[in-house]
């Protein structure tokens, strides 16, 4: 159990799971994502229960403009793909390539976040649709805002990883870290797909 993995002939094909520590991180992170899923599910449930509770505020089909949300979705989906490219590079021990793809991922994430901030302030200013306007608005900002907070956290996390491991090459210590961060990024993406469907498509369609 000394955790000694022979790396003299280069990295193993799954550097992120080669050590016990890596395996633990990997598994623990999946459990964490399981918990996050349930938490988001609860907020989705709340949103579904309250989405018609508009009180005297605007309803969803007066607010949502699909083109903007569609662009945001495309950007986030692309960023998920670039993080996959990074993981491919990692498994082939191409450090520079991995870093490049990771940086592109962060940049796309930033654009997404910027658009989301623009969207929120548009609702608040042009529609007087604030957090406290109605049960629907509270549920909307809580659900979508929580996702946004996850994006922000993911961006900080990946940025920190990039800076910390600048020029270090792929090792058995940092491979699990990059891998787990990219898993997190996919998770954020999957949640967004649900938000896109449940909040925006259903909302704009007036269902």
């Amino acid at each position: 159990m000394a955790g000694a993995v022979d790396t003299s002939k280069g990295l193993p094909s799954h550097p992120e799971r080669a050590t016990l520590e890596g395996k633990n991180k990997f598994l623990g992170f999946w459990f964490f994502l399981g918990g996050e899923t349930i938490m988001f599910a609860t907020f989705f449930g709340t949103y579904l229960g309250l989405r018609n509770g508009v009180g005297s505020g605007p309803a969803s089909d007066e607010l949502f403009t699909l083109p903007l949300v569609f662009i945001m979705t495309m950007i986030l989906l692309t960023s998920s793909m670039t993080s996959v490219m990074a993981m491919f590079a990692m498994k082939k021990n191409q450090f520079k390539k991995m870093m490049t793809w990771m940086i592109i991922t962060v940049l796309l994430g930033l654009v997404f976040l910027g658009l989301e901030i623009y969207e929120f302030q548009h609702y608040v200013h042009d529609y007087e649709f604030g957090f406290t306007t109605s049960a629907f608005s509270s549920a909307f900002y809580t659900l979508v805002g929580l996702h946004g907070a996850h994006v922000l956290f993911g961006l900080c996390w990946i940025t920190l990883l990039i800076i910390r491991n600048w020029g270090k090459g792929i090792t058995l210590t940092n491979a699990p870290k990059f891998y787990v961060a990219s898993l997190y990024w996919h998770f954020i993406d999957v949640v967004w797909v649900f938000i896109f469907t449940v909040v925006y498509l259903m909302g704009a369609g007036g269902y």
């Binding site: 623990g28 459990f31 018609n52 505020g57 210590t173």
Partner: protein, 624 residues
């Protein structure tokens, strides 16, 4: 022990420890203190109810006590006490040197503690929460009551600690087992802890979400629960009980696990129906998630929903029954030793059955209109919680005490404690069934005389005096045994037990096993006693042992979370001494700074050299 240990102050050592055994002991101490606190509140409530129209407590104080009693008992006493045993025992029972994430383990403890302290801080700011442990809205939206903000944020913080501990247990049990310890050879305590951790993962997250909603509503004026703005109050009840019902199983499954360890050990027989026990555990856990709305029969969710949830609830009786019979069959024909641990374990069985029977009664939706919010419910859940979980905790305490503290608890005092507690328990809660049927409502601070409620209330309160006396005897026992108790240093296996934790030396060295053992059967130690020489076969040569470093960061991160929560509460205070946002920022800095420090500095741990391990083996390895 040996000289490789850098000498540090004792206090510093405990503050920075990441050793699962020390953390187990810390959970035990913290949980016990919260248990005594909540117990004292229960006694005060019962004194208030000893006679009609008593004025020992005011209605407001009673409401605060009832809320804090329930909340503390469930979140800050029962859960951590079970975590105490899980932390101490699981790695030993699966042949591991440590848990999967020792740092996270320490973090979990400190976060739980800071959440608990945050909740308790409410007394200094106008009193505790008063909306019951279920915090139903709109009752819990009372703006004047700062205590409810402490409830929301205290539970939010301590819940994070519970969650990360659960993930740690899950990964530990899956990844850290010794060679040969297959899943179907796990001791039942490990199995039930595993399933419980899954439940925590899937139940505490909805609670976190629900508490977040309540926090946003109270502090940031969200409108989820405000019908005038399109909100809905029943949403809270759904979210709360989606957590709340599984919570009962989160507590009771590890209690089942303890019973399943103690009964075979003192019946000198292997557990009857091991496989059935494992699957029954999983089925109970699954059904536990399907029945939450049986708490809402009277809310008006409709006859169809009521019927479905009623039937689902009653189904749980089947796997539970399997468990009960397996315990009985284990004892059947065994050579039973009735020491204190076994007394508690065997009295658990009938007591729990009684609680189960009233549970089935409550599950009949139409009749629940009669029982709902009466003392019948109070009697039912205390039979489950005290007659189940607390009895199991006492059994586990007496059973594992020698491994944890290197001496036994006194048996004579133990038996006195058992007798007093059992009498007290049944006196207190049995008559409450009748009080409930006669219509005495729960959560009400007094009642009128001459309604036939007087005698039973008197009896019930006298019962709590017996239980209090019992707890005092337990405390005396702990102190007495620390001074004069039978030492077991050098005696690895004082009970002649069956599972792997009893193969470690006493006191347990920080690395648990000098050599990882090879597991050859269920009840591995017993197998070696019968088929081998009574000691575990090593699965590896003696070598350097890698251990994690201690760290003060968990304490810092938890202090940060305390201030984060406290700062948010200050937003609701009329005249905060400093700007709340300063406190929030300070808390955030400590928390996220601590986390960043942890991730920026790689901690590679240290090695205990082979020579030291060999010397230890010579010194400690012997012993029977």
């Amino acid at each position: 022990m040996a000289s490789y240990k850098k000498e540090k102050g004792v206090v510093w050592d405990w503050l920075t420890t990441v050793d699962h055994k020390k953390l187990g002991i810390m959970y035990l101490i913290a949980g016990t203190l919260f248990f005594l606190k909540a117990g004292l509140m229960a006694v005060f409530m019962r004194i208030q109810l000893i006679m009609p129209e008593n004025s020992f407590l005011t209605g407001q104080t009673f409401n605060e006590f009832i809320t804090m009693h329930g909340t503390i008992m469930l979140f800050l006493a029962a859960t951590p006490l079970l975590f105490a045993f899980m932390n101490f025992v699981i790695p030993l029972q699966i042949g591991a040197r440590d848990v999967a994430f020792p740092f996270v383990n320490a973090l979990g403890f400190w976060i739980f503690l800071s959440g608990g302290l945050l909740l308790s801080t409410s007394w200094f700011f106008g009193g505790g929460p008063d909306a019951g442990w279920t915090a139903y809205v709109p009752l819990s939206l009372n703006e004047e009551q700062l205590g409810l903000d402490f409830y929301v944020l205290g539970l939010q913080v301590s819940g994070i600690g519970t969650l990360i501990s659960a993930i740690n247990f899950l990964v530990t049990i899956i990844n850290m087992r010794a060679p040969g310890m297959t899943m179907m050879r796990l001791p039942l305590f490990v199995w039930t802890s595993f399933v419980t951790s899954t439940l925590i993962l899937f139940a505490f997250t909805p609670l976190a979400a629900g508490l977040a909603l309540l926090m946003l509503e109270r502090i940031f004026d969200a409108q989820f629960f405000n019908p005038a703005a399109g909100g809905n109050v029943v949403i809270w009840q759904h979210i709360f009980w989606i957590f709340g019902h599984p919570e009962v199983y989160i507590l009771v499954l590890p209690a089942f696990g303890i019973i399943s360890e103690v009964i075979p050990a003192f019946s000198r027989k292997r557990l009857f129906g091991y496989t059935a026990m494992v699957f029954a555990t999983m089925i109970i856990a699954f059904l536990g998630f399907m029945v939450w709305a049986h708490h809402m029969f009277t809310v008006g969710i409709g006859p169809v929903a009521n019927s479905i949830f009623a039937i689902a609830t009653m189904t749980i009786a089947v796997p539970t029954g399997i468990k009960i019979f397996n315990w009985l069959f284990t004892m059947w024909g065994g050579k039973i030793t009735f020491n204190t641990a076994m007394l508690f374990a065997s009295s658990f069985v009938p007591t729990f059955v009684l609680g189960g029977v009233t549970g089935v009664m409550l599950a009949m939706a139409p009749v629940d209109y009669l029982y709902h919010d009466t003392y019948f419910v109070v009697a039912h859940f205390h039979y489950i919680i005290v007659g189940g979980i607390v009895l199991a905790l006492f059994a586990g305490l007496f059973y594992w005490y020698p491994k944890m503290f290197n001496h036994k608890l006194n048996e004579k005092l133990g038996v006195v404690f058992f007798i007093l507690f059992t009498i007290g328990f049944h006196l207190t809660f049995f008559v409450q069934h009748f009080l409930g049927l006669m219509g005495m409502p729960r959560r009400v601070y007094t009642y009128l005389g001459g309604q036939g409620l007087d005698e039973f209330n008197m009896i019930s309160t006298i019962g709590t005096f017996f239980m209090s006396a019992a707890v005092i005897v337990l405390v005396i026992n702990i102190v007495y045994s620390a001074i004069k108790g039978e030492r077991v240093i050098g005696i690895n296996d004082p009970w002649d037990a069956r599972t792997l934790e009893w193969a470690t030396p006493t006191p347990v060295p920080e690395y648990n096993f000098a050599q990882t053992p090879q597991i050859r059967s269920l009840d591995p130690l017993f197998y070696e006693k019968v088929h081998g020489d009574g000691t575990m076969k090593p699965a590896e040569p003696v070598d350097d042992i890698h251990m994690p470093n201690g760290s003060i960061l968990p304490v810092i991160i938890s202090i940060g979370l305390y201030f984060l929560g406290f700062g948010l509460i200050m937003l609701e205070m009329a005249e905060p001494i400093v700007s709340p946002w300063i406190v929030v920022a300070l808390g955030g800095l400590l928390t996220f700074g601590g986390m960043a420090m942890r991730s920026l500095k790689d901690d590679h741990g240290y090695h205990i050299p082979k020579s030291v391990v060999k010397a230890d083996l010579k010194k400690l390895g012997g012993g029977k």
